[in-house]
Symmetry: C2
Subunit: 62 residues, 2 copies
Amino acid sequence: MNHVKEYRQQRGLSQLKLAQAVGVARQTINLIENDKYNPSLKLCLGLAKTLGTDLNSLFWEE
Amino acid sequence: MNHVKEYRQQRGLSQLKLAQAVGVARQTINLIENDKYNPSLKLCLGLAKTLGTDLNSLFWEE
DNA sequence: TAAAGATGTCAATTATAAGTGACATTTCGA
DNA sequence: TCGAAATGTCACTTATAATTGACATCTTTA
């Protein structure tokens, strides 16, 4: 479980807009939000910066 | 730049010991420490937990 | 000063992240 | 309530993370 979807929606972005901002395909965002796979660190950093947050807020549990 | 090497040395672990603890090859740790590639989120989480820290401490800049 | 441990790096292979195109369903504003 | 936007998912391909084995160099320590 991660918090990408929550942060994306708070920012009023669609999966497509977020994908374009980060430079990946829309499907990649969809898969990450639904925990279907394991993104790279570079992509996690891009998501955190684009969403105005940090790695722990998006991906750290406990 | 990341802080894996600093945390590993603080814990008194070799690259090999850390690799075994996290479940990857020694070369993988070496490449990450020298910024030769882009680890997966799952591996970053494993490193953070094994080293008793979190994602931001190891991988977040600024 | 020899030997063992630790590190950096290479080549080749395997596993999987990520891309592309497409289609069905759901959501939401005109 | 119709149509467009948004989302979830499929199959297939491409890029690259990660593995394995090997070897050279550099540190330590016996």
